[in-house]
């Protein structure tokens, strides 16, 4: 007891002594306009003693020498040194660094560079930009935030989304961008897309990235920005830097939480006047809405009951639920002189709008850095991610949306529920008509179809930075991306569509990618004017996947929903798949700067890829770029604060998938359990070369009126040739296609980013960000070595409607059927009185928009802030397959025109005479439903992508206890996809409605899941 008391005394004494020698200083840091500046670094000069300002610009620091100096520094501001001079309170104003000399961005290979030195456009997105909307999907959270980035989504929550930078450059729809997290490629693999017939949309690997863990994202759009990534960077690269630990004043704990509710909001316009039957005659088992007009009278329904004959309104809406997503993230971070750490745990619970559709996710991230000694610093990052998808919705003609859009309008949800009866212990589907794949009960379907998956991922890196001396540095890095992905599919119950149900399908896949990298850098001021940087590096990438899948065939009963539950053990099939690839690379770059206003950068990389033929597997990718700070070189008018011009040129490439260069046979188990194999459908090509994209861009950056107006303009061009595509073969050759290099696609475009800050008052600030991008992709050449007659390729081919790349034309022409017309443009009517469909398909539109844009608004007033983002597209066409289908079944609202009276469709007969045959509405619309032209809409739209309104709770409001404990508290209301200001499609939306994220699928309005509107709130707390 005595002993302990002594220690306490000693401790108190020490504190007292410290108090005598040290001095505590506090104050507030503001900018020119009086706005508090958070996160300003404050260091006692000549020591490692430092702190940073809190959200309100306040700081407290205890200095050891009360006559020393304090250094205040922050990104975007000029540093300031202040003599302490015994003061205990120092309030300072930091000057904004309008020339942005200090602005640093993350470029290829994770190298941080001053933005002014870059000869190409890089747009960086901050963590706030990504997390404001509470969107847990890092891809969709980028929507509208970067010019020239196009994001396509489908499949509802957890569905696939695809990012495309500066247009589509690939005939084979091979546009995947490379994602790099802390210097290590992050696999976006195991995404899946459905097609119009079915399938499941799964956002795959990118959903694993935790938006809360992101510090910044650099979007490397052009070839020059991405050239150092060689064959993997051809479609652009997104470089993510995650949050690192830093010294904390408080506990170092922060919490972010959000709850967002999403509900189905956009549906096809349906008629509500006519019900079940044909040619105006009621049929209780009818499959379309060509029956009589609703009259409310009692009729025998398909259930056998007498029911009032009325429209069952809002069925799809009532079928769905409000999906609630809640996300919670807690992180602990701290650091000191030697190192820092940050640990984060995040949980996401996401509900889809269909019952049982859920995506749940756990992210655990640990980031640590430690300076072992003056020349060795070690970083380590470890992430564990678990993502589980449950009951993902079916897509295409066999989706819930399709069933409701074609179901006779009087069939009520309450009669379809619960979707089944239990007969003899088995679920039997409740059907409103004879069993048929086209007329299913959506309730049963959701119960019967199983689409579950789970991925466990380990991702991380270990990096050593060695400083040999001031000029020579070495970075060594080992990165690992490893996951196990399991899926469970099949049909839980039997049905009347196929006699092979119930059945069970399961698969598991192991993915692993290793990267070993080194980078040696030398930097030296050659003389007063010249600085030289030279770096050389090497990388070895090895990727390997193993997949094992099994399916049961028909099960004994729904009770035996497992592999060995197969009725006939002979139908249990297992399949294994392996892929392996390796890329070895060496690269280097030179940076030369003159007087800090002229910058030249050249890069070179050589890749050797295992997937290409031995003689063609080595490829060289060069780039060069130049930046000139004109405002530093010549005298500029006063109102020009910053003017930079830049230009660049680069060549990057793409290899192919493994095993495309040699003919091999896979074995399978066929009917009667016989071993089978067959000649592959595709002829391999041992002369394959890598694809080559040559790109160049010029641009200018301007800051005017002391930064009130900022403009960043880019013009780029990209030519992609030697595309590795499967060329359709004349099938009498014995093969459907062959791998070949062909074609030239050019993309030319401009990007304009404008920032305006018209109000920058003390406690009122308004920022407006305008993004504008225009891209035109043209198929310049499309000649194959097989057949020089080849003149187009199908990008998407869905029976009637095709999306083509035609030589000499814009990419993505929509081909479909028009009306047969006379020379003066009148529709030709046949002998049956119906309009005639033209025999050959013709161009009815193109999927490329004229331009895309976004408007971002950020307003802060005192403790309130508001941010809103509007997104838009002008031009481009879309075909509403949804409406065409519903027109055939008499459900589309257009089919109720003129009370469905028989009429003479407008037009003339082929011989020029007037039609004499009157036609029924049913015959007319059934014919029209096959005429593509009728369902082509303008794909232009403008919508409110996201909005958030927040409030920084003043700590004073939290009371004494609170303000001691809580350092920052913020609450926001958020909304996503709240409304469209403009769109042309019939009830549906043009921008998120397709069955797949493939390039050509954009031509189709055919949504598998209704598009939602979301509202919610979020809370940020720092302790």
């Amino acid at each position: 007891m005595n002993q302990k008391f002594k220690y306490v005394l000693l401790f108190v004494a020490l504190l007292l002594i410290q108090g005598v020698v040290a001095q505590t200083i506090s104050g507030t840091v503001t900018d020119n306009y009086g706005t508090p500046v958070p996160s300003v670094n404050i260091i006692e000069k000549g020591t490692t003693n430092g702190t940073s300002t809190d959200f309100d610009g306040n700081y407290t620091i205890t200095v050891t020498n009360s006559s020393g100096m304090l250094v205040f520094s922050s990104l975007g501001f000029l540093s300031k040194e202040i003599a302490i001079g015994g003061q205990s309170s120092i309030n300072i104003v930091l000057e904004e660094d309008v020339e942005q000399l200090g602005e640093v961005v993350v470029t290829a290979l994770g190298i941080k560079r001053e933005k002014k030195a870059l000869g190409y456009s890089v747009q960086e997105v901050s963590s706030e930009d990504i997390t404001t909307s509470g969107d847990g999907n890092v891809t969709t959270a980028l929507q509208g935030k970067v010019a020239g980035v196009n994001i396509t989504t489908t499949g509802g929550i957890g569905g696939n989304s695809r990012i495309e930078l500066r247009g589509n450059s690939s005939l084979a729809d091979n546009n995947d961008v490379l994602w790099v997290v802390d210097g290590v490629p992050f696999s976006s693999g195991d995404t899946s897309d459905g097609d119009i017939w079915g399938g499941v949309s799964n956002g795959g690997g990118l959903l694993d990235i935790n938006p809360e863990d992101i510090q910044s994202m650099s979007v490397l759009k052009g070839g020059s920005a991405a050239a150092l990534y060689g064959s993997r960077g051809a479609n652009g690269v997104i470089v993510i830097t995650t949050k690192k630990g830093s010294e904390s004043q408080g506990l170092g704990i922060s919490y972010t939480g959000s709850v967002v509710a999403s509900s189905a909001a956009y549906f096809l316009d349906l008629q509500e006047e006519f019900g079940q039957g044909s040619e105006g005659v009621y049929d209780k088992f009818g499959t379309s809405s060509w029956g009589p007009q609703f009259d409310g009278g009692l009729r025998e329904s398909w259930t056998g009951e007498m029911l009032p004959y009325l429209a069952a309104k809002d069925r799809l809406k009532d079928f769905t639920r409000t999906g609630v997503t809640s996300r919670h993230s807690v992180s602990l971070s701290n650091g000191g002189e030697k190192g820092s750490y940050r640990a984060t745990i995040s949980k996401d619970w996401t509900e889809g709008i269909y019952a049982n559709h859920e995506i749940n996710k756990t992210n655990f991230d640990l980031n640590a850095t430690y300076s072992v000694n003056p020349w060795l610093n070690v970083d380590a990052k470890v992430s564990y991610i678990n993502t589980k998808g449950q009951q993902r919705p079916e897509i295409g003609f066999y989706s819930v949306v399709s069933y409701f859009n074609s179901m006779p309008m009087n069939i009520r949800l309450q009669d379809l529920r619960p979707g089944y009866e239990i007969v003899g212990g088995e679920h039997v589907e409740t059907l409103y008509t004879t069993a048929n794949a086209s007329y299913r009960n959506p309730y049963f379907l959701r119960e019967q179809t199983v689409n579950n998956d789970e991925r466990n991922r380990f991702f991380g890196n270990f990096t050593a930075n060695i400083d040999f001396n001031e000029n020579l540095k070495l970075r060594l890095r080992y990165g690992l991306d490893n996951y196990r992905y399991e899926t469970e599919n099949g049909y839980r119950y039997g049905d009347n569509v196929s006699d092979l149900r119930p059945n069970y399908i399961t698969a598991e896949k192991f993915f692993s990618e290793e990267n070993m990298e080194l980078l040696l850098s030398y930097n030296k001021d050659l003389n007063e004017d010249f600085n030289l940087g030279v770096s050389a590096g090497a990388n070895k990438m090895y990727r390997d996947t193993d997949k094992l899948s099994a399916e049961s065939g028909k099960l004994i009963s729904e009770e035996t929903y497992f592999l060995s539950g197969a009725e006939d053990s002979g139908t249990i099939k297992t399949t294994e798949e392996f892929t392996e690839r390796e890329i070895q690379s060496v690269y280097g770059f030179v940076d030369l700067s003159y007087k800090n206003y002229l910058f030249l950068n050249a890069t070179a990389r050589n890749d050797w890829s295992s997937t290409l033929p031995e003689d063609n597997n080595s490829y060289f990718y060069p780039s060069v770029n130049l930046s000139a700070l004109v405002s530093e070189m010549v005298e500029m008018p006063d109102w020009v604060t910053y003017f930079k011009v830049r230009g660049s040129w680069a060549q990057v490439g793409k290899d192919t998938d493994p095993y495309n260069t040699s003919q091999v046979y896979t074995l399978g188990s066929g009917n009667f359990n016989l071993t089978t194999t067959s000649e592959p459908d595709l002829l391999v090509n041992s002369d394959l070369k890598p694809e080559i994209s040559t790109s160049s861009e010029v641009g200018a950056e301007l800051k005017l009126f002391k930064g009130i107006l900022g403009i960043d303009f880019t013009y780029y061009s990209e030519d992609t040739k030697n595309q590795i595509v499967i060329v359709d073969l004349d099938q009498s050759t014995g093969y459907k296609g062959r791998y070949d290099n062909l074609g030239l696609i050019t993309n030319r475009g401009i990007e304009l980013m404008t920032t305006i800050t018209p109000i920058r008052k003390d406690d009122f600030r308004l920022d407006i960000t305008l993004n504008y991008a225009k891209n035109k992709g043209i198929v310049e050449e499309l000649v194959t070595s097989v057949d020089d007659d080849e003149f187009y390729t199908f990008i998407e081919d869905n029976g009637g409607v095709q999306v083509r790349g035609t030589e000499g034309e814009k990419m993505g022409d929509i081909f479909g059927y028009a009306y047969e017309r006379s020379e003066d443009g009148q529709i030709i009517i046949d002998d049956d009185g119906l309009p005639v469909r033209a025999g050959e398909r013709q161009v009815l539109g193109n999927i490329q928009p004229d331009f895309t844009g976004s408007i971002g608004l950020n307003v802060s007033y005192k403790d309130f802030f508001l941010s809103a983002l509007f997104g838009m597209q002008e031009g481009g066409e879309i075909y509403s397959l949804t409406e065409a289908g519903a027109t055939g079944s008499g459900n589309a609202s257009r089919t109720a025109q003129n009370n469905r009276m028989a009429f003479f469709p407008e037009g003339i007969k082929a011989d020029g005479t007037s039609p004499t045959q009157i036609v029924s509405a049913q015959d007319y619309w059934s014919r029209v439903s096959g005429i593509t032209e009728e369902f082509i809409y303008d794909a232009s739209y403008m919508k409110l992508n996201e909005i958030s309104i927040g409030y920084n709770i003043p700590l004073s409001l939290l009371g004494n206890k609170g303000s001691n404990f809580i350092r920052e508290a913020r609450i926001s209301l958020i909304g996503r996809d709240l409304f469209y200001l403009y769109k042309d499609t019939p009830g549906t939306v043009p921008d998120a409605s397709s069955y797949s994220t493939s390039y050509g699928a954009r031509a189709f309005d055919f949504s598998p899941v209704p598009v939602t509107r979301s509202v919610g709130c979020s809370v940020n707390l720092k302790f």
Binding site: S498, S610, T676, D681, S732, G734, D830
Partner: protein, 512 residues
């Protein structure tokens, strides 16, 4: 410092001195083979006709032979429209399937004498499949096809001549006593279970079928080859018939889907009428073996007889489903299978067909046989195969009129019986109709579709070339048919010499 530099050197070496020598191994999958055992492809080749049965057969020859009729409003093919996504598959499946597999086998084993028998079996099968292809389209790419290169189209005559010669050679090269020969495991030869003698008889029967097809266009060659084929030994009994089994655990779009589960088709009235018009006993005892009525809300007034629906409706009557359809419990082996691993059998060549071919050869005076007796034998063979009891069969046969009257008239009687016996082998029935214009088959009830490339009031005579050929190989096509517009479906094939419209008093004057 020195140490650091040494360390750096080591690290650089480890990284930079990469080696690409193992790239070859990396880029070769570990779960594949590079030389294929013949049995692995043979069992698939034999099942090729069952692939996409719905699109290739149910929607085309089944309607054009009028064994079946469509009951879905607006379907294109019943009124002679071509749909590439339907029968276009037949082209693709044949050329990229069995043909490519067979060519690869010739590459692997063509020089190896131990595979002579196996390759001859495949060769016989390929000849049969080639005939099915050329009889669908007419001139097609043949010599050198399926070897990775685009080749010209060959005339149907050249193809027929070559097929006959290939069949002859293949049959002769089979040596069933040579124990050194590779033999297919019997379960892999899903049609003849490795019985080489049956393969030979099947080969000769195919040769007879090919020869008879040329009866009106090349009668000398037809006669010579028919005689030779019969002399070499054609099928002897129903046990020799070529029937493709459908696995009970597999999934097929065969008649049980189209005519039952999906309600896309019903028996054709044309065919069911023939089941009541031939014998003096009235009803053909096979009628209820093949057909029945599906329990449904709609019923026909008289369900004591089998009544089919007319072919070629555009908009179907509301009670279309009420008409007779497939009998899955009627005992006909083709529709009920073997009760074990075989769900159903798809006929490729009935034994009865060879008997009718012999009957026709006799009628034509090519052989000395008794045409009338052979027709009876053919009907009896069919009755036996369908599972009709002996008394019912003989009552029916006894009620059949003998072949009488003009040669055309006798041929019409013969072909009508052959037509019934060939059910449900619609490809063959449609071919017989195109060659002989018998029996009487109607035009689509609602007329030939305006979108079809068949003139109004005219029968469909072939299938046009698929889109794949028009877009990628039109330069090789016959010059008169190298555009979608000119590639008409009322163009008669080489062996189809007469326009059905010239039929007068129910008879042609083109068959003799």
């Amino acid at each position: 410092m020195k140490k650091r530099i040494i360390f750096l050197g080591i690290v650089l070496l480890t990284f930079a001195v990469g080696c690409t020598e193992d790239f070859d191994e990396i880029n070769t999958p570990s779960n594949v083979i590079t030389k294929v055992d013949p049995s692995f492809v043979f069992n698939q080749m034999l099942q090729n006709p069952t692939r996409n049965y719905q699109r290739n057969i149910s929607l085309y020859p089944d309607f054009y032979s009028q064994y079946w009729a469509n009951i879905v409003s607006g379907f294109e093919s019943p009124r002679y429209e071509y749909v590439d996504g339907w029968i276009g598959n037949q082209w693709n499946e044949f050329y990229t399937g069995p043909l490519a597999d067979y060519n690869a086998q010739l590459g692997f084993y063509g020089e190896d004498p131990a595979y002579k028998n196996a390759l001859a079996q495949m060769e016989i099968w390929m000849c049969a499949e080639w005939q099915r292809m050329t009889d669908t389209y007419g001139d097609i790419p043949y010599f050198g096809a399926g070897t990775g290169e685009t080749v010209p189209y060959n005339s149907q005559q050249e193809i027929y001549y070559d097929l006959i010669s290939r069949l002859t050679t293949a049959v002769n090269s089979i040596d069933s006593d040579d124990a050194t020969q590779y033999a297919f495991p019997s379960n892999y030869d899903i049609i003849f279970a490795g019985d080489l003698e049956k393969w030979k008889r099947f080969g000769n029967s195919m040769r007879l079928r090919l020869a008879m097809r040329m009866s009106n266009v090349d009668s000398d060659k037809a006669k010579t080859e028919a005689e030779a084929a019969i002399a070499d030994g054609v099928m002897l009994s129903n046990a020799d018939g070529a029937h493709i089994p459908l696995w009970s655990s597999g999934w097929y779009d065969y008649h049980h889907q189209m005519a039952w589960a999906w309600d896309n088709t019903r028996a054709s009235k044309t065919f069911t009428d023939y089941l009541y018009s031939q014998s003096s006993v009235g009803e053909d005892p096979r009628a209820w073996k093949w057909f029945t009525y599906k329990e449904d809300d709609d019923t026909l007034a008289d369900e004591s007889v089998i009544t089919g629906i007319e072919n070629g409706y555009n908009t179907l009557p509301a009670n279309a489903k009420a008409y007779a359809t497939i009998n899955l419990d009627g005992g006909y082996v083709g529709f009920v299978g073997n009760g074990a691993d075989v769900l159903m059998y798809m006929p490729y060549m009935f034994y009865s067909e060879t008997v009718f071919l012999k009957a026709e050869a006799a009628l034509r005076g090519w052989t000395s046989g008794d045409a009338n007796a052979l027709v009876v034998e053919g009907v009896q063979a069919s009755m036996d195969y369908v599972g009709v009891d002996a008394t019912a069969a003989s009552d029916y046969i006894n009620g059949l009129p003998s072949l009488t009257g003009s040669k055309e008239g006798q041929l019409k009687q013969l072909i009508t019986q052959k037509y019934i016996a060939n059910f449900p082998n619609s490809s063959e029935a449609w071919a017989d109709f195109r060659r002989t214009d018998y029996p009487d088959i109607s035009l689509p009830l609602d007329g030939v579709s305006g979108s079809a490339s068949v003139a109004p009031e005219t029968w469909v005579k072939r299938i046009r070339y698929p889109d794949n050929q028009h877009s990628l190989n039109s330069a090789s096509m016959p010059s008169m048919q190298n555009t979608i517009d000119s590639d008409r479906m009322d163009i008669r094939l080489w062996w189809d010499t007469a326009d059905t419209k010239t039929k007068s008093g129910g008879l042609m004057n083109s068959n003799f």
